[in-house]
Every structure is written in C-alpha cells, then in structure tokens.
Symmetry: C3
Subunit: 159 residues, 3 copies
C-alpha cells in the first residue's frame, strides 16, 4: 500500500486521539501528544498570512504545556464550557526538517456552555510537523491557525 | 496493512453510510445499520459523564427503531427540517464484549429549516460497539452523547 | 487491501487538497481539480430532490471556471470573507459512466468576516464523478447540493 496514504491514516488517528483527549477533558494527556520539546502555537490567520509573529499563545515544550494545563484546571477563573472537535481527514504535505512529516488538517471546534445551545467556536487548520517515534507519531510542532480574529470570550482550553 | 487502520476505514464507511441514509431521509434504512437486537441511545453528556441513566431516547432492537421511524415519518407533528451530519474519522478504542469492536467518532449535525439558514444543531460523539457480520459491520450499540443539554425545539430524527 | 477502501483514501486526499486550495485562497489551483471538460454545479437541495434543473451556478469546463476565478478575484465587488471547509470521509457509491467512480462526501463550510465570529455558511454534500488519470484523481463533475435555500449574502467563492 501507498506509504503516504498509510501515514495519513496514522495522522488521522493522532488527530482523533488528540481531539478526544481535549473534549473528554483529559487535559493531562494533552502534552503527551507532543515531543518533549514540542511546540504548540495558536495564531490568528490574519497574522499567519502576513508572516507576522504575534500568536495568542505559544508553548515551547511539555513543561510549558503542563503549566498551562495546571492553569486551566486549577487557577484560571472562567465560565465553564465543553468543546467538541470535528477534524477532517489530514493532508500529508511532504517532508519537513529532520525527516519529519509536514501535514495539515482542517478543524471546527464547537463550544457548549451550560444551559446553552452548541455554537461554532473556533475554525481553522492544524499545520503540523510530526515525528515517527517508537511510541507512535508525536507532534514536533502544532500550529493552530484560526480564521476569526474575534474570539468568543477567551480561548481557555487548547484547540 | 495494520489491522486496526483497516478496521477504522471500514468504520468510517459505516458512519458515512449511516449519515447519508439519515440526511437523505432514507429512514427505513436506518435500523439496518444495527444488529437485530442492537441498541440506540441518545444521552446528554451531563448525564453520561456522571454515570446517570437518563437518556433522551433509548431504543432496544430494530423493532423499536422501526416503530420510531414510523413515528417520525407518519405520526409526529413537527416543523420540517433537514439534517446534515459531518462525522470525523473514527477512533478504534479496543475490543468490546463478545469479540466486538469499541470505537468512537465525533460528529456535528447541522439543521436547516425551510427558508432559514443552516445552524449548529447537535454536536457530540458516537460511542459504538460494532460487530463484524457476513453482511458487513453492524452496530451492536450506538450511544450518541451530545454536548448540549439545551436542545433546539426537539430531536425528531435520529442523530 | 480492499480496492474500494484504497480508492476512498485517495478521494479523501482529493477533497482535502480541494478544500485547502479554496480556504487558502489559491483560487487559480481550483480548476485543476477538474478534468478540462469537468462540470461544477452548485444547487439547492430543494431543487435537487425534486429533479428540478435550476442551479445557483453551473460551470462547464475549466475555461468557465477560470473565468469565474477571474471574476471573484478581480471584478466582483463583495465583502471579504474567509472560508473553512470541513469535509467528512468520502463514500464510494459505485461505478459511473465511462469507468468513472461515483462518490459523495458531506461538507460544512464556515465563513469568517473581518472582525466577526466564524459562522455556519453552507452545509451539504458533494456528489462526484471522478476519473483516475495519470495526474491523479480528477473531478469529471462535482455537484454541490446545499441544504439551505437561504444563502447568507451571496456565494462568491466556490464551495
């Protein structure tokens, strides 16, 4: 079978596991989808398209991610909400640095606040560099480029 | 090829067929996606997460499903609407009881009422037990856990 | 491996590339997803279901598509917006005319206007006839059947 298609299936699996962990609020599992020195960045499309550096959040390494998880679960005061990720099939873009794979996938995240209807929360795409490790595929970096510069309230949980 | 990935592809296919049948209003085909004694349950996440039993609807076996289809097509008086399911790639979770497969997938269902714009209707995840039969994959049980306890009007058609 | 599943993976790939080209505003790439004489049609479900011919837009061949791209990028005066396609796994329906493949996929397109939140824009399904060519899969025809007869403002960019 075609190597690229097989790889894509594994990336879909990574994305499904990632989405499930977040939506089921297993936040402690989230940093484990990255390499120890992995990068997570959340950036508005407007800035991304212009090559501007400003990002809403940028976490370098699992340490910063764990700190963020501590923040969202223990210290940040915010209105509670559920998220639901629906991620489309991934697209393998080619080879990245150090033998890594470059891939992307479109996502829609829906938000549900207690007693309220579900609504569109954040849509965009994941732009990833992925490494094949003995423990499976891991994100060397995930850049979430979201379409709307207008964020409903605030983005507490990872996208 | 990896067994699990192959299985996942077949589950995606099951989900796509299921979604197409509902959205194209071929409701009579719907019970056929289940085993004769299959279970369909629609439950708010709030109750599911707390382990509470209350479900919005629970149908045990194709007989009850056919009865429900009769209801929604012949007897229930309700405002008409279209549905559109967009289901993400499935995730194989492991082995269930009796050699069945446990899997889940995130879904978003959009509703369109005549003369109105499309809107987010119901988002959540399918939690399935699936059996491989000579006639293909069949749902031994499908539990639809939806995020919003607030339902727009009422849920007439299956999710 | 099952031929049909393999084909489906390639169709998913086609759809992901198609969506990425549109959402990244690489409109000049769009006609290249079709055969030179390919057909693109955008039709409300109401008309499609009744077998009525009226379509919102119908482009026959890459020439008309290029003209449309010229229109949307150079001449049509309209409020700017981003699109984001989330397309579910495709469903191979069978063999079409001339050895082509008939397939369909459900899609949701979200719109984001500057300074505004993302919103549901157009949901429906792609009904495709696809040809295997030396340059990969190409659309002999793509019929986009959308659920809402009520279009937010106007549909400028391809779906």
């Amino acid at each position: 079978m075609n190597e690229r298609l097989l790889l894509r299936l594994e990336i879909d699996e990574l994305n499904a596991g990632y989405a499930a962990a977040l939506d089921e609020r297993r936040f402690d599992d989230w940093p484990g989808f990255f390499l120890p020195e992995g990068l997570y960045k959340l950036q508005a499309r407007e800035n991304f398209d212009r090559g501007l550096p400003l990002a809403l959040i940028a976490l370098e390494g699992q340490g910063m991610m764990k700190d963020r998880v501590y923040g969202i679960t223990q210290t940040i005061y915010h209105g509670p909400y559920y998220t639901r990720h629906v991620v489309g099939p991934a697209q393998v873009l080619g080879e990245g640095s150090e033998g890594r794979v470059r891939a992307q996938a479109h996502y829609a995240v829906f938000r549900t606040r207690p007693g309220d209807a579900s609504e569109v929360y954040n849509v965009g795409r994941y732009i990833d560099e992925i490494e094949c490790t003995p423990a499976g595929l891991k994100l060397a970096s995930r850049l979430c480029v979201y379409d709307s510069e207008m964020v409903l309230n605030s983005l507490i949980y990872p996208i």
